[in-house]
């Protein structure tokens, strides 16, 4: 054949030399030098300047010569090399192995070309080899990668020759070598950039072509990496796991033990949720109380999370697995912080001190409120109030405070016992302890809440009366049917009484407004304190700690993209690039993997809040407790 003589001529030019390895007579013998590049194929469908990309794993850069096995992606004109098959081998067995891998992983794995790692002294070369290989494993383009041992000079060619029938019809393309770390690419998960809000999610997959295909290929070819060099199989492969499969005893034990433990805990949790859903708790007073207490909300949230973690169904997607892991770490951290709090409380015997201090504090608050009311009943800030209304409102609120103080004193013997049990609940988690604190604050300041409601209702009534009488003053009326203001002709006596009432209400306005202002400010103060506690609870609930830890310790697992570095380049040699993983920034990690919370955020904007305050409508900051956002 013509190629043999050309091959012998090439030996002197320092082309690929053979690796001395005797093999069985029917096995494919050692490689021959590469044939020279023929002219451009006149019938070829490729343009002459096209650059092909070859993704080569860094672990195979020091492997012995052999065949390149991987996947060819024609849309990107790139070849992803997954492993190297060493000599000697039997082509039929290689084809069988590739067919098995293809079936197991749904990835089109084929033989892409040859890999040659020669020593400095060129050895004896054998003929027919490339032609034979090219005929057995027909793949176009056929890659020939070559590296000198101990140096950094690489050479690679990709030929499109059509076979022995038309030896002149072969073209060559330029090849760009891109090295990648196979283990990191296998384990990492690409996060495409966030789509613009007005696009659907399906559109972005079309543009995330090239590199996502490489990651996908490597991730799905696990079946190819199962055999290592200690196996006695017919084919010897070289890849990232060829020194031995990676595994950890602890992980395997945990996986084995996870099954029965999950089953047991799932049964326990289903019992608890069945008990909590029973009829007794749905009766009216209890269900009302449960819906108002944030502790019950938090406990329910935790129960749901635990049910999800310990459910016996396997996680379907990596996102679900991350969510489960985040929930588990969040629950564990919560319980750890709660136990720390508990030990701190018991060490300093703070519960006893707290119980002793609670009654005097409540007394002090009530005293301050009484002083405030006395001040309002006099001439507060130099304003002159309407004496009669002032006295009525002041006495009414003072009596209320007196009732409240009596109630607190009634409860005082049981306070320490209650607090001790409440402190014990901190072992369920810090978030539960904080929710209980928030509820205790709400209960202790219940009288402030009542005052706020009385003041707001009075003020609201007054404002509505004023607006309606003001319309009457101008000769207009609110049309309920049409929801607009219409003109109306009133009788003289209607006008007279209306104007009188309007005057009375206007002159009583400052007094009511002042009481309303004072109690609204107090209420807002209490709401702000409760809001801070809820914010802290939400933070502990929703922070994805496992993802953040993964980003800190194994940054290649969460990839935002890739980055390239150009390696040493000599003219005449192919361009070599190193592809590294660009990790996801911390803000995007938190944004992507944030856990869903109860969603107890106030839905008001500042404008609507001010409007409600002005018109005296009641504000319920936690009204949305019943709705869950996912």
């Amino acid at each position: 054949m013509g190629l043999v003589s050309r091959g012998a001529a090439e030996a002197g030019r320092g082309a690929a030399s053979a690796v001395d390895r005797p093999g069985p007579p029917d096995a494919v013998p050692n490689p021959t030098p590469t044939p020279p590049a023929e002219g451009a194929d006149p019938g070829s469908s490729r343009s002459p300047g096209m650059v092909l990309k070859a993704f080569f794993p860094t672990c195979c850069a020091s492997a012995d010569s052999g065949l390149l096995v991987g996947r060819w992606v024609p849309e990107q004109s790139s070849a992803v090399v997954l492993a190297v098959v060493h000599f000697p081998f039997i082509p039929i067995q290689v084809k069988e192995l590739l067919a098995q891998v293809q079936q197991a992983s749904q990835v089109g794995v084929t033989v892409l070309g040859t890999w040659c790692h020669r020593r400095q002294e060129p050895e004896e070369s054998l003929g027919h080899f490339l032609e034979g290989l090219g005929a057995i494993f027909s793949h176009r383009p056929w890659f020939q990668l070559c590296r000198e041992r101990g140096s950094k000079s690489w050479s690679c060619k990709a030929t499109h020759w059509q076979g022995p029938a038309s030896p002149a019809a072969s073209g060559e393309d330029q090849v760009m070598l891109i090295f990648y770390d196979q283990r990191k690419v296998l384990l990492s998960q690409l996060h495409p950039p966030t789509a613009l809000p007005d696009r659907q999610a399906g559109d972005t997959t079309a543009s995330a072509g090239g590199l996502a295909a490489v990651f996908d290929t490597v991730a799905r070819s696990e079946a190819l990496f199962q055999s290592d060099r200690f196996d006695e199989g017919p084919v010897r492969l070289s890849h990232w796991q060829s020194e031995g499969m990676e595994a950890s005893i602890l992980v395997e034990l945990a996986k084995w033990a996870a099954g029965p433990v999950c089953l047991f805990l799932a049964c326990l949790l289903s019992l608890i949720s069945a008990a909590s859903a029973c009829r007794v708790f749905k009766l009216w007073p209890l269900s009302f109380i449960w819906s108002k207490l944030s502790t019950c909300e938090q406990l329910r949230h935790r129960l749901e999370q635990l049910t999800l973690i310990f459910s016996t169904r396997k996680a379907e997607s990596p996102a679900q697995l991350m969510r489960k892991a985040n929930m588990l770490v969040s629950v564990l951290l919560d319980v750890a912080l709660g136990l720390m709090l508990l030990s701190w409380l018991h060490r300093k015997d703070l519960i006893g001190q707290l119980a002793d201090a609670l009654i005097p504090v409540a007394d002090r608050v009530a005293e301050e409120l009484q002083h405030l009311l006395q001040w309002l009943m006099g001439a507060p800030a130099g304003l002159k109030m309407n004496r009669a209304l002032d006295q009525v409102l002041g006495r009414f609120f003072l009596y209320h405070i007196h009732l409240w103080i009596s109630y607190i004193h009634l409860m005082s013997p049981f306070i320490e016992r209650i607090l001790w049990h409440v402190g014990l609940s901190a072992c369920l988690g810090l978030t539960v302890a904080l929710s209980i604190l928030s509820d205790i604050i709400a209960l202790l300041t219940f009288h402030i809440y009542c005052f706020y409601v009385y003041g707001a209702r009075l003020y609201c009534l007054k404002i509505h009366g004023l607006s309606s009488l003001w319309r009457l003053f101008r000769g207009k009326k609110w049309n309920v049917l049409r929801q607009r203001v219409d003109s109306c002709s009133y009788d003289l006596d209607q006008l007279f009484i209306g104007t009188l009432l309007f005057t009375i209400l206007v002159f009583l306005l400052p007094t009511t407004a002042l009481y309303y202002l004072v109690f609204t400010l107090l209420r807002l103060l209490v709401v702000a304190v409760q809001g801070l506690i809820h914010l802290l609870v939400d933070l502990i609930n929703s922070l994805p700690l496992y993802s953040l830890g993964l980003r800190l310790c194994r940054p290649y697992r969460l990839a935002a993209g890739v980055k390239f570095r150009v390696l040493e380049h000599e003219t005449g040699r192919p361009l070599r690039l190193l592809m590294q993983i660009n990790p996801l920034p911390y803000s995007r990690v938190v944004h992507t993997y944030r856990l869903p919370t109860c969603g107890c955020h106030p839905k008001h904007s500042w404008g609507s809040l001010c409007r409600k305050l002005f018109f005296g409508e009641l504000i319920y900051p936690w009204r949305q407790r019943g709705n869950k956002q996912d």
């Binding site: 343009s47 300047g49 650059v51 990309k53 760009m176 613009l196 543009s207 690039l577």
Partner: protein, 188 residues
């Protein structure tokens, strides 16, 4: 092959443009920003410490002085790590994509890579920046829905802010590579 030219940015500071030509399909531009000078560093430190000393003479509290030292140190570290960019690099690889790297004074590097399939074009745009009208180089990204539309504009060399002559150099080389890439990809 490497060559270096000196340009100026929009404020008149000196910039150095290094061009590395690896192959006809791979080109790298490295634009170095003016370094942080000892004069400005000394000026800022002296101002902060004088202000702290002034407060100290008013309040007679030594915590102010130690707080001033802390603030200066932390401020300097934060500035070097998060704000001061030493050089910006643009790497164009035919048929692979365009990569922008910003290296900060503390050594931190932040990289963005845009695949060639998403790049529509590289153009020079005008923008109104404070009271000036400046030119900047940007990459236009393709719209996944509309084939000839543009979904996003990614500006380049945002902290170096070179003038038009420097931008034209970079623009010409980018257009060569993009044209070559379009020619090889559209032919069947």
């Amino acid at each position: 092959m490497e060559d270096e030219q000196s340009f100026s940015d929009i404020c008149g500071g000196r910039l150095a443009l290094q061009r590395r030509f690896y192959s006809p399909s791979c080109l790298e531009f490295c634009l170095s920003c003016p370094r942080i000078t000892l004069r400005s560093l000394t000026a800022v430190t002296c101002t902060v410490w004088l202000a702290a000393y002034g407060l100290f003479t008013l309040c007679e509290n030594t915590m102010i002085l130690s707080a001033a030292i802390f603030i200066t140190l932390l401020g300097l570290l934060g500035y070097l790590h998060f704000v001061k960019i030493d050089h910006e690099t643009l790497l164009i690889i035919d048929s692979l994509g365009i990569q922008m790297t910003s290296s900060y004074a503390s050594g931190k590097e932040s990289t963005t890579f845009i695949e060639m399939g998403q790049v529509n074009d590289v153009v020079i745009n005008e923008a109104i920046y404070m009271q000036k009208v400046i030119y900047y180089l940007c990459i236009l990204l393709k719209d996944p829905v509309e084939p000839h539309g543009i979904s996003q504009v990614v500006p380049l060399f945002q902290s170096a802010k070179p003038r038009l002559d420097c931008l034209i150099e970079v623009y010409r080389s980018c257009q060569d590579i993009l044209a070559h890439q379009k020619a090889t990809s559209t032919s069947p």
